[in-house]
Amino acid sequence: MSAETVNSELPAVIDLFFHRGQGKSIRRLQTMLGTRKFYHIRTFRSSVDKYFYRWGIPERQAHLREFRLYRPHLAYLHQQMMGWKPRTFSELFIPGYADRLGWYTAIFAIVFGVLGLLSVVTSIVQMGLAIVALQVSQEQLRLQIAQLGNSTGGP
């Protein structure tokens, strides 16, 4: 029935997920499996096998036409990834898959906005403190003048 197709598409899915991206995904897999050793990862060919059999193994492309049975699953996953939008406040800080530049720009703007807001608050506090300091110094000056008047007006 479809067992042979599934059998051929499963390694293809593993290839798609973990065998691209200059080893970043393989490291991710090792982290997920809790192992740093390649011989623990037995289900699919390792990069060593890939090196030895690089001429014999047909390279698959990351394209939906390579898949028949898992095609709707992959298409749905792709569609959901690309259409993901944050729905809660905490999700605002998770980068989506589509338009990463926009997310980084927004985060950059938020960081600078927060910094700007902080500087405004700091300025207001600073101004308040300056006013208080001015009042204190004025009071001090007034007291000094009063003290000076008392000392000159004596016998």
Binding site: M1, S2, A3, E4, T5, V6, N7, L10, V13, L16, F17, F18, R20, G21, K24, S25, R27, R28, L29, M32, L33, G34, T35, K37, H40, I41, R42, T43, Q61, A62, H63, L64, R65, L69, Y70, R71, P72, H73, L74, A75, Y76, L77, H78, Q79, Q80, M81, M82, W84, E91, I94, P95, G96, Y97
Partner: protein, 276 residues
């Protein structure tokens, strides 16, 4: 139905797990041992439970393992006769048809009438189907004694067809147009909102839960070994992967089950339970 010797054997099986057919005695690296393990586990852990389908199997006495095994053989014979190019029908339809065509199933209590036999036996027949089809039977938990959740999920899967292997498609396959899927890379996926989690159920491969933001990826043996040994990988293979079975042959793929069945029947003979 079983006689008193069967009951004695059944009682010893229930009370003492280390019998002559204890599941750990098999060579687990042999993928064909999967069905034997599944049959024995089902028989020891489920079939003798008092509450397990006592309307269908009887509350006073239960059939022997031989009777259950021969019912499974009947089911395999029936499934193997399905025309791969024929009309796809739901699992419920096929199993109901099987029960109607085989009214004298050996594991059922004799008091069943043809009209209500399906109502009482559907859960039991589904368990038998899960075993003979090489699927993982639904896990029984304290909240869910007979895996009802998984059972209801699979009733509508179609046969013949790939649904039992790849699950129901999340979107209409006809509506999918070709296109690049460069973004489907594990590192990129994990850098965003979705997380990848492994599953050892083949039908759950690439299933996406958008609420939990979790993508299930089929992975067996390695991960089961890792969890068994608390993070350390087992050098020995654990239970054979489902894909190994499909590679070597499978009832859904018209596998000639004679070898497995002859082994099963031999085991039944060794137990002294075979009355047929």
């Amino acid at each position: 139905m079983a006689d008193s010797s069967d009951h004695a054997a059944a009682a010893s099986l229930e009370n003492d797990q280390r019998t002559s057919i204890y599941a750990s005695g098999y060579d687990k690296s042999n993928c064909k041992s999967f069905i034997l393990l599944a049959v024995e586990d089902f028989f020891r852990k489920t079939c003798f439970s008092y509450y397990y389908h006592n309307a269908a199997l009887g509350s006073g006495s239960r059939a022997s393992i031989a009777a259950v095994a021969f019912d499974m053989i009947d089911l395999i014979t029936y499934l193997a006769a399905i025309d791969p190019s024929g009309e796809a029908r739901s699992l419920e339809w096929w199993l109901q048809d099987f029960v109607q065509k085989n009214p004298g199933l050996r594991s059922l209590a004799p008091a069943q009438t043809p009209d209500d036999i399906w109502i009482y036996t559907k859960g039991h027949i589904y368990e038998l189907f899960c075993i003979v089809a090489g699927l993982r039977p639904p896990l029984a938990t304290s909240d869910n004694p007979f895996g009802q959740y998984a059972r209801t999920k699979m009733w509508h899967y179609k046969l013949p067809g790939p649904e039992f292997l790849v699950g129901a498609p999340p979107i209409d396959p006809e509506s999918v147009s070709d296109g690049p899927i460069e973004e489907l890379d594990a590192a990129f996926i994990c850098s965003g909102p979705f997380r990848i989690r492994f599953t050892n159920v083949l039908a759950n491969n690439l299933k996406l839960n958008t609420v939990r933001r979790e993508l299930l990826l089929y992975w067996e043996d390695n991960i089961s070994g890792l969890t068994d040994f608390l993070g350390r990988s087992s050098r020995e293979r654990t239970t054979p992967g489902m894909m190994d079975q499909f590679r070597d042959g499978h009832v859904l793929g018209k596998f000639p089950f004679l070898l497995v069945l002859s082994t099963l029947i031999r085991k039944v003979d060794v137990c002294g339970n075979c009355q047929l």
